[in-house]
């Protein structure tokens, strides 16, 4: 199978790789580029663990072919912390005990980031809706919902 070149921006830095045609973005990120923050859960579009942000929109990297992402701006949870300081969402997930095994966490945080980027002060219903495509088998969801609301409050206090 011929390899195809793919070039995109990942968390602000340029990436160029040769991938086999038909390679998913999830596989390219994890196995080629070494960003293991998106997780391969179901590979069916059901669990949301592989969620990444492509050109500002939440997408599932397991159902996206890498070669369709040429020129795209891709963000993953691995790119959130700046200078060793956790992103407010990451901080809130720790403070609210919103992560247990941690497998769903990067996807949850991506889904929450898209929400907070557009809706800085979300209602609880907004949070539930935003996370509705992400499955967690540990926490029972409540601590995750609280963490997103906590991050929103922290953001608005910092902005004030």
């Amino acid at each position: 199978m011929a390899k195809v070149p793919v070039q995109f921006t990942l968390n602000g830095s340029e990436k160029a790789e040769f991938v086999e045609s038909g390679t998913t973005l999830l596989a390219a990120l994890r196995d080629k580029i070494g960003d293991t923050s998106p997780k391969g859960g179901c590979h069916q579009g059901t669990c949301g663990a592989c969620s990444v942000i492509i050109d500002g929109e939440l997408r599932l990297s397991c159902l996206t072919l890498a070669e369709t992402c040429g020129g795209a701006d891709i963000k993953t949870t691995a790119g959130l912390a700046e200078g060793g300081v956790l992103h407010p969402l990451q901080r809130a997930f720790l403070d609210a005990f919103a992560t247990q095994c941690g497998f769903c966490t990067p996807g949850m945080i991506m889904a929450a980031k898209v929400l907070l980027d557009r809706t800085p002060n979300p209602s609880r219903e907004d949070v539930v809706e935003a996370l509705s495509g992400n499955i967690c088998r540990c926490t029972g969801y409540e601590p995750i919902i609280q963490a997103v609301l906590l991050a929103a409050r922290a953001n608005s206090q910092n902005a004030a």
């Binding site: 998913t24 579009g45 929109e57 599932l60 369709t68 889904a111």
Partner: protein, 264 residues
């Protein structure tokens, strides 16, 4: 597993490439990449068309044309398509809605394809390079269809005449137990003058509840007057059985939910 993806700028070339055995069209990826990930060896190569026109939404003079690559998220947030937003939001979670397309939903097997249920109630027209056809004809032949859908067209319903309901066990996002879309025209006194009702999960693809449609004509939307329509709702159905619900259960609850949709 390896897939070869070929990208075309012309629909004609893509249609020609699609004739090769094992080739599927790649829209949002939520059906074909899912199938490939699951080990469906019948999918060996993919084609797609990178024409921005496929993602356009045109609303004018009460007519709507949705390009086949328009996503559920784009329909849900479009200010002039508010009547369709509940059906678009019924599909998947936020990430799926950013990917899943109008064209792909026409091919989604039950329990998926909730948006196609809405399109069936609206008597949409399915557009391909070869011409246009009624959605009912398209759905009947979709398993053997080898032509790429480029758009769907329909008359924009008035918000009060179009109703949509999806029943799922998990809220807010869950797989359909069933979905129902209804386009109803009422006379000033509340009598039903025309009815078009489409059902999801009541066969392997969206179907119409023709007996119920007929029974509704001339009725007012009261518990008593819709009773014959509810009794007829199950005529001709062959519901699917999956981990969410059995065929028996789906058939049992259909009249209940149709009643709620009509009386709401």
């Amino acid at each position: 597993m390896s897939l070869a993806l070929r990208t075309f700028s012309s629909m004609k070339d893509a249609n020609a490439a699609l004739q090769v055995s094992g080739t599927r069209y790649l829209g949002g990826g939520t059906l074909v990449v899912r199938a490939a990930n699951e080990g469906d060896v019948a999918v060996s190569s993919l084609v797609r068309v990178d024409d921005p026109g496929l993602s356009q939404i045109a609303v004018s003079g009460g007519k709507v044309r949705l390009g086949a690559s328009v996503t559920m998220a784009a329909v849900a947030r479009h200010p002039e398509l508010a009547a369709l937003a509940p059906a678009a939001r019924a599909v998947g979670g936020p990430a799926i809605r950013n990917m899943a397309t109008v064209g792909g939903n026409l091919f989604a097997p039950a329990p998926y394809g909730d948006f196609a249920v809405a399109l069936l109630a609206l008597d949409a027209t399915v557009v391909t390079e070869g011409g246009e056809m009624p959605i009912e004809t398209f759905l009947a032949g979709r398993d053997t269809s080898r032509v790429i859908v480029t758009a769907v067209g329909f008359s924009l319903p008035r918000a009060e005449s179009f109703r949509f309901l999806k029943v799922s066990r998990v809220k807010p996002k869950g797989v359909s137990v069933l979905s129902i879309a209804a386009l109803l025209e009422l006379a000033p006194d509340g009598t039903v003058t025309s009815a078009r009702i489409a059902l999801g999960c009541m066969a392997d693809r969206p179907i119409r509840a023709k007996a119920a449609e007929k029974a509704l004509l001339g009725c007012k939307l009261t518990q008593q007057e819709i009773a014959p329509a509810l009794a007829a709702a199950g005529e001709g159905i062959a519901p699917i059985t999956d981990p969410v619900a059995s065929a028996w259960y789906r058939a049992e609850v259909l009249p209940v939910h149709l009643g709620r949709l009509l009386l709401n």
